[in-house]
Every structure is written in C-alpha cells, then in structure tokens.
Symmetry: C2
Amino acid sequence: MSLLGVLGLGLLDPATAILRADDVGVTRGDGCFEGLRIRTDPAGHSTVHKLDMHLARMSRSSAALDIAFDEDGWRSLIAESCASWTTPGEAALKLVLTRGPASGTSTGFLTVSPLPSDYPRQRREGLRVITLSRGVTSDAFAGAPWLLGGVKTLSYAVNMAAQREAERRGADEAILVSTDGKVLEAPTGSVVWSIGRTLHTTPPGATGILSGTTQRLLFERAVENGWAAAESLVSVDDLHGADVVWVISSVRGPVDVVALDGKQRPRVPEVDAEIRSLCGF
Amino acid sequence: MSLLGVLGLGLLDPATAILRADDVGVTRGDGCFEGLRIRTDPAGHSTVHKLDMHLARMSRSSAALDIAFDEDGWRSLIAESCASWTTPGEAALKLVLTRGPASGTSTGFLTVSPLPSDYPRQRREGLRVITLSRGVTSDAFAGAPWLLGGVKTLSYAVNMAAQREAERRGADEAILVSTDGKVLEAPTGSVVWSIGRTLHTTPPGATGILSGTTQRLLFERAVENGWAAAESLVSVDDLHGADVVWVISSVRGPVDVVALDGKQRPRVPEVDAEIRSLCGF
C-alpha cells in the first residue's frame, strides 16, 4: 500500500504497525470495511467515487455490528488522504473499522493502494468465471440478523478461498450459488445480467448478499437511459441464457463474463460499453 | 491481555502494535487461530493443555488456507511464553496466524490473557442456551473445501454476532442449527450430549463444524471409562430429549446446559462431574 491514515492520528508511514494483537478485527474478523475507487487527474487532483453511498453502507454495517461510526472523522481523514494522493490514474481506497482491542475503543484506518495489476487485463479480456456453492439456502438470512447478511464484515476468509479455488481451476473469478441453486454474488462483487433492455441482479435481504454500490448506481442511471431494471432470483441455467453477464465492483468496475463454467460466452461490445460508461468506467 | 509473543521476534510489551494496516488477517479475516488453556501451579510453573492436538489442528487449518506453518517456531515461542507466565491459576493462550501483509510473509503471534471473568459463574451455574440458525444446510461442506469447513479461521464475525444475539435474549450461549434443523455447534465450542451411558456429538465433515480438541479427548477417555461414544446428526427436539447437554471448549471446559430455548433442564451433578473430570476440569 502507498498511503495510510488512522482515525484520530491522521496520516502515518504506511509501514507502521497500527493494530494490537488483541484487536478483535484480527482475532475475530469483527469489524467492517469498504473498498472505493479513487481517480486522480494529470494535475494530481484526486476524487473518490460514490463516497456518500460507501459511507452510508459502512454506517449500516457498523450499526449491524453495534460499533459506533464517526462519519465526520472518516470524511475528514478521507479528505486529508485525497489531498496527499497525487499519482495520476486510478487507485483503491480501503476503509476499515474494527471493534478494537479487548479493552478499548474501535480502530479505524484507511489505505490507498495502486490498482491491482491484473485489473487492466481483466477489463480488456473479460472474466472467466466458475460457479461455486456458498453453502447457504437462498432465504437463509430472512429474520436472522446475527448471520450479518448485507453487512460488509472483515470475515472474508471464505470469499478469499473461493477466489483461490477459481484461480486453481484456471478461472479469474467465482460466482457463488445457494444450495438451492440460485445465483448469489461474486466473492467481492455483484452479479448483473442483461436480457434485452432489462438489467437484472440478485435481490438482497433474505439471500444475504451485499447490496452493491456500483450496481445500484448503474440501475439508477440505466433506468434514466431507457433500460428496465429488476431484482431476480435465478438459476445458473438462467444465467447462461442471459445476453451479457457482468461482475461489478467499485474498484475494478463492471467486467463482462466471457466464460461461465467453461462455456464460452460471446461478447456484446456495444452493450458492454454502455454499461461500463453508465458505471463511470 | 497480559503477555504477547511474536514469531521471529519473541516476547514484546503487550501494548505494542504489531499488525500493519494491509495485513489480510485484519482486512479479510484471512488466517487461523487456536485457543488453549494454561494452568499455573502455586510455584508459578505453567503447563499448556492438549498442546499437540491444538498444534495439529492449526497445522491442518494453515494447510487448508495455503499458509506455511512453522511448528518448531510456535513450540519455541510457546515455551518461552509459558516460562514467563507465572500467575497461579488458569489463563487463556491464543495462537494467531495470518497470511500477512499484501506483499510479505505470514504474521504469527500469541497472547496470554486471564480467564474471562464470566467463566467461573457459568461453570458453577451452567449455561442458558438458545438455538440460532447458521444459514447452512447440514451437508453443505461436502466436496466444497473453499467453504473452509472444519478450519478455525479468523473470520468469526457471525460467531460473535450469534453470541451477542444470545446475550440480547438473556442467554449465555448459542447453539447453531442448520437450515434443515440439525444441531451443529456453539459459536466457540462443541455440543456434546449424553443419553444413558452414551456420549454424542455432531459429526464433522459435511456439516462444516470444527472438530473440538476437548470433545475428542473426552470421547477417548470416556470410552476407556465404560462409556459409548457416537457421532449423531440430530434435531433440536432430540437434544431436548438428552439426559445432559454440554457446550465444550478448551478454555471454559465442559459446561452443562441448564436451559435450552427457555425450557429448564434438570442438572445431573454426578454425570456432569464425571464429564468435567474426564475433560481435565
């Protein structure tokens, strides 16, 4: 990473160790995070995309975990970090909030890192995707707030293992599927697909998936531009039948799926270009 | 916490910050841990219970996560820590291994902390327990290693939220249940129950539950002492029908359940005492 900021302390040398051994953010994955896109113009002026949406979601995640959320403190630290980040191009901003040490208050920090090195190729060539079971039923999270559905917690070990499994099988990405065969989400992104001029995504709520900020922005703008939009609980077979399938995340943006479970998918450049543009990519 | 040791560095002041902001142990809950019991005699000599079993499980967890496990390094750090821990009584030893910073090697550390303050009362009075859905089917983990069944990862946010939910409802502890109604495990312990002279626990494997070190030690010793032992996939109704139900973990030990979903359970002191003794408590 290239830049480090800590709530209450400001900017620090990125190599500084900042977390105690008994911070439950590490011992229990007990906390939440957001990943945001920074763009920096040739003059070195940086802007954060969808900052309000990300802070709103982080505030909801914190509330679900009973951790206080200091929005003003975050805005001030983000502004200070952006002012210091002047490398033209794209970068990734991560906000992390943990419940803190066993006896103590929460720990909040942010990092700015260069765009992951495999993103440009993936955006250019599209994603080879496999589907993997998530082990949960598609209605498991209804009335069960302790399962933390829709909460972007730090407990992402299974998400990371699913991505490693995809890579082990020669794919770029995974799409997670419920035990009753419904399409859920990618380990770090939303799944969106088009059929004609309708965009679809999996409904949040009972499915437990994270409501994607870029997916929501896309749907809003798409509807303004003549698309219809729907939340649809579908099977992997239904996904094979879609015109275009994207995995969408805030930093990588929308990337179209060029192979699903080994089956090649034709690319539809004009639709893909329109969706990328609506997402701000 | 009272004592801190870091692999490669030895013992440090417990207040030292040791983790970087980009350690995926905190940003992704990507790593594994063990919780062990230390007993220290009046002369200040400390011993760690079931050290070999815990190191063997941590080695399996690490392998499932593709993180190297330096058993010799851990044994040496644990020995150094034990030699420095001289407070008579019981304490909790935690071993934590993360995949480490984005560019770097794994992070390993241990802490020693006093026994949690509510454990003596819980051991004395028993546990009031509620059942909560875990959202998964009871066979979800078969053939799906990316779901990390049986791996003691740092991604425990849901386990912690389930314990908070239990406390919110006036209980001490939760027992997690699959969507098809089968008893799985407690958020930080195994569930064991007796029917006559047979001890039962949930089978690991397809259920994804963690194989408990104390539960395994208990079953081994119980069989030597005239008990039968079985792995049984049962409903909550079946659990209500058991003679005694325990939640068993390494530091708190076996504690009998005195209320299950609001239904009082008679205590059976002679059986409970025998089980506690077989577990080394």
